[in-house]
Symmetry: C2
Subunit: 303 residues, 2 copies
């Protein structure tokens, strides 16, 4: 049977592998590392990139923390009273310079407490500043293929979960074009771990392909402006709704590691409404739940 | 006896008076108005300024909303079941271009529900990008003088309340140098209204003095950078902790009016630590609870 140390070790190797592939593709940017300790037990290794050739700012963080199970978990499961917990995972957000490259987020994580409670969680989602339907199709098809290696229902279920999770109610917009999201997956630990490994391994080839493919697309000052506004929505989602961020800030986590997800530069202008028919308006129109990106572009391509 | 319509009318006139004084001092910027209706009852008038000579972005918002008392209030006071509520107020945030001029916030508000429940709330607080001790002294002394027209204990009480309220736990920093904050003030309605009027009327002369006095202070690119980082903290406070913002977003308020408080341009860099002894480090060192700004600068000036 797989144990928490082996899972944690795999996440650690995933962090280093992703960093290697991102540095190779970026060409200039180098990740810097910060080891940190959690007073109550465990710690992590934050790694941050700033001012790369392609990536303007981002982080690939690993952590493995443990100690007495927090009260709020005992409240929802009384059998955990007096137990210890262990939580480990990798968390990534990357903000590119070029507004034609999407922002990406991935998180894979494992939690256990007491003798019998464990679960996996995670997700990948893509936040294009301008939605390119072919890129969206590629991204979702890749995730679907990864899911289907494990369970033919996973993609549909976790795609819907992502639509619901990465949603900004006060804007009535999804954060981006979604992806997959899953949480509290329990059952056959080895099978679930294999699924999470597939998702983790899908990240680097998928995003580096988008980096390479879009890095030389031209853009104007107008498109940078729109990028700054869209990054504002990203900051709103992370600070107001994201559960990982809230949990981290409320439980006295390492602030700089948690908030590495925030964009390097953001703008807020009052009541900005893109001109009808503009690419910006088209993008807004696609920031909706329930779009089937796997089918959508197939249809477009047939026409 | 004063009634809710008279209070609301006074807030409306306060909005227009403050706008007039801000436009006069700014010299170029003009506020634009948006009237909005709340489907459940009432509405407001948002007024926003962008790209003035002194003010880069800000809003002076008035609203008066009413309807059935929301459930969360009935939960804390069962006698309000089946009642109606009425809430009116003015809310201001101003972000200047020049980092030597502080960000300012003011809010004054009145709430009533059922036949007997009413309260006033509000506050003013100042967020300098660089703390100038003389400005801090002037600001707090002015608030103390305003409070003492009404009650000799108000300043001490409400200054402490502001220190506690305008605090960013995950940064272990106060948002700025505080000011005054008060909520749920009930009792002699006329007397309390007179106090709130004094606070409302204190805003424009106090802030326009700082605008005029600091608008020509020189600054470099380095100081603009620091301003963008400090604005990041402002956005973090408003999106993660500010009760008014949370309440507005959760109760389906008008998003653009609520988020007018967000700065025009913000930056987040990983783990920025100012050089020891720099003006930035000195400012961080003064973003603490419990500093007596009324006494502090008197002592400094005597030396």
């Amino acid at each position: 049977m797989i144990n928490k140390e082996q899972i944690s070790l795999w996440f650690q190797s995933l962090q280093l592998d992703i960093i290697k592939q991102l540095e190779l593709t970026d060409g200039r940017g180098k990740f810097t590392f910060d080891d940190w300790q959690r007073p109550e037990g465990g710690g992590g290794k934050s790694s941050v990139i700033e001012n790369g050739d392609i990536i303007e700012k981002g982080g690939v963080n690993y952590s493995a923390v443990f100690g007495p199970t927090p009260d709020f978990l005992i409240k929802s499961n009384a059998t955990l009273a007096g137990s210890n917990f262990y939580a480990t995972g990798v968390s990534i957000v990357l903000h590119p310079h070029n507004p034609m490259i999407p922002i990406i987020h991935m998180n894979v994580r494992y939690f256990e407490a007491g003798n019998n409670v464990f679960w996996f969680g995670g997700g990948i989602d893509l936040t294009p500043h301008y939605v390119d339907e072919k890129d969206a199709h590629f991204f979702h098809q890749t995730l679907k293929n990864a899911c289907e290696k494990h369970d033919k229902n996973y993609y549909d279920q976790y795609k819907k979960w992502a639509d619901d999770y990465f949603y900004i109610p006060h804007r009535k917009e999804t954060r981006g074009i979604g992806g997959i999201f899953f949480d509290h997956l329990t059952g056959d630990k080895l099978k679930l771990f294999e699924f999470v490994k597939t998702i983790g391994n899908t990240f680097a080839p998928t995003y580096t392909k988008l980096m390479k493919q879009n890095q030389h697309l031209p853009f104007s000052e107008n498109e940078k402006q729109w990028q700054y506004l869209r990054r504002g929505r990203y900051a709103e989602f992370n600070l107001v709704y994201d559960k990982g961020t809230k949990f981290g800030l409320e439980t006295n986590g390492r602030t700089e590691s948690i908030l590495m997800s925030l964009p390097p530069r953001v703008e807020w202008h009052y009541n900005h409404i893109p001109a009808a028919g503009s690419r910006e308006a088209q993008t807004l129109n696609l920031l909706k739940k329930g779009i089937d990106w796997v089918i959508k572009t197939e249809v477009v391509e047939k026409n």
